[in-house]
Symmetry: C2
Subunit: 346 residues, 2 copies
Amino acid sequence: MKPGDRKPTINDVARLAGVSIKTVSRVINKEPNVRDEVRERVLRATTQLGYRPNFSARSLAGQRSYLVGYLFGDAGGDYAHRVEVGILDRCRAAGYHLLVEQIDAAAPDVAERTAALVTQLRLDGVVLTPPITDHADVLRVLREAGVPYVRIAPDRHDDVSPFVEIDDEAAAYELTTHLIGLGHRRIGFIKGDPGHAAARLRYDGFCRALREHGLELQPAFIGQGDFSYASGLAAARGLLLGGQRPSAVFAGNDDMAAAAIAVAHEAGLRVPAELSVVGFDDAPIAGVVWPPLTTVRQPIAQMAETATELLLTRADPKRGGEAGETPPRHRLAYEICLRRSTAPPA
Amino acid sequence: MKPGDRKPTINDVARLAGVSIKTVSRVINKEPNVRDEVRERVLRATTQLGYRPNFSARSLAGQRSYLVGYLFGDAGGDYAHRVEVGILDRCRAAGYHLLVEQIDAAAPDVAERTAALVTQLRLDGVVLTPPITDHADVLRVLREAGVPYVRIAPDRHDDVSPFVEIDDEAAAYELTTHLIGLGHRRIGFIKGDPGHAAARLRYDGFCRALREHGLELQPAFIGQGDFSYASGLAAARGLLLGGQRPSAVFAGNDDMAAAAIAVAHEAGLRVPAELSVVGFDDAPIAGVVWPPLTTVRQPIAQMAETATELLLTRADPKRGGEAGETPPRHRLAYEICLRRSTAPPA
DNA sequence: CTGAAAGCGCTTACAG
DNA sequence: CTGAAAGCGCTTACAG
């Protein structure tokens, strides 16, 4: 197509193929009831003209915009990006495009902005990640607007929408049990942002492991963070620089675990000889600190792909599920990554 | 808006305000030539009905889609995400939305996919980052389609489009000079991905600093990486585990610098006492390794904001520049971040 | 299996 | 300063 050429429309294709625009539409949308011979003629005309259907026209006339939305909050950049790549993979395969929006969960106009987004752009579906995934106003707006949505790692399971998650509690339980198996008896924990369900679930799993192995929870060994590296630094100092200190620390995510390792370095504690540290997420930082972190790998991209798949299944009227159905709930497998930040206590 | 309610259209607003839809259109688009009294009446009707203009209809009828595209390649997740957040900030302020697409620069259908994207969605503008920012086919397609685009950190400066960058060469020169000022004479360098302009420019600045200070470039101290942590590991081993080793290493980015620190740890070299390490980017990893990295801070979000601003200025026919103008070129300030990974040689 | 007509919700170009 | 008409490029609902 040279500059200045008008973009070919469905009318041009119809004329060239000697059929009506409705027939072209049928071929483009892979609808039935077109003779093979006609279909091929239309396809040929399409190729010859370099025809590409206009999304605005499609969206205005029809039921679908071929647009998926991704609403993300202030979660880590790495997490948000991996989710995005996962969504993009599925969108590309299905001929959809991705519209992204950053939403400040604490802003007063969240609901208004969400409403504007879905009514103005007629999104066919929306993918939600923490903390937006549990934002009641956002969920209500989407429900009322009739826009299908899928939640990744939600806290509340009583919503009508499908969701994708891993079992944070079980993973934390398993990782804690690993520490106990190594011989650790004084184990500390750095909690994550209370606004994220995962923070609570991971702590729950930790507590259950201690309880089931007859170990006591020592309040002095429990620190409060918010998933950030800086908060991990502060919390780790509280746990490690006191008189009594734990022989192992479980941090609610890898950033805080990396901070705990840094504090250990500062304090002259050798990791893992004098202090074992574990994290959660298998973020990039996990493989890059010294020593590399024992952690739990979340299949983030796969969760996003699964979520998008669920969404497109519902968004497509032809593939769509019944309104009354139980929403599909997907729990994906996590993986414990044993690396060099853990060892038996001295 | 309760479920089941039909979304209000421009017709509903016109009827309620007692004017024609053209007048409503004028008010919505802030066009002149509407009496204040009428404008207020329309605005009131808009609010009362909760009217929000339909983007598909706007795009189909008019010149603009209110959609900006962001095409990114396989650059680091953190970089891509920070760019995205910067773009989103400006889009939000201007009433635009962001459509993202991941493009594999090496794929054979890059041009075709780009063409499909811009002709089907009528993007008002596109932001490009490395390595796509220098992809000749992509640039050609955008130019031919008449879609304005802005390039972030481009290699080739002979394109007609505006761009935003920092002076990588000068920054690398400055940082190298800092090492020399500390007393280092044997300084190694780990090169980044040759496909990225920044890799070459940073190396150029390094070489110029050595030359201007009468130091010799020692081939044994030059390693080849690709910006990844793993490549930095391999390159650093080559530099540090040989017989002669440098007293300082300049890595082409922070990931590779972090890898160099890890190799130093492995080899029992104290950083910075026995080895100084510097990186580039001020990525999250820079503040999180031990010791924290001396590096160059790129104002990534600000670059993205500037790029988006340039784009929206050109995309808007009312604000737009002339076709023959020299494209605006923006060079933003970088910042040298001195941290604890550098010290005078032993 | 195929097509003619209407319409989606706006903006454009023009008339007054 | 305001509006009536046409049209953007498709899909829907229906007729044959």
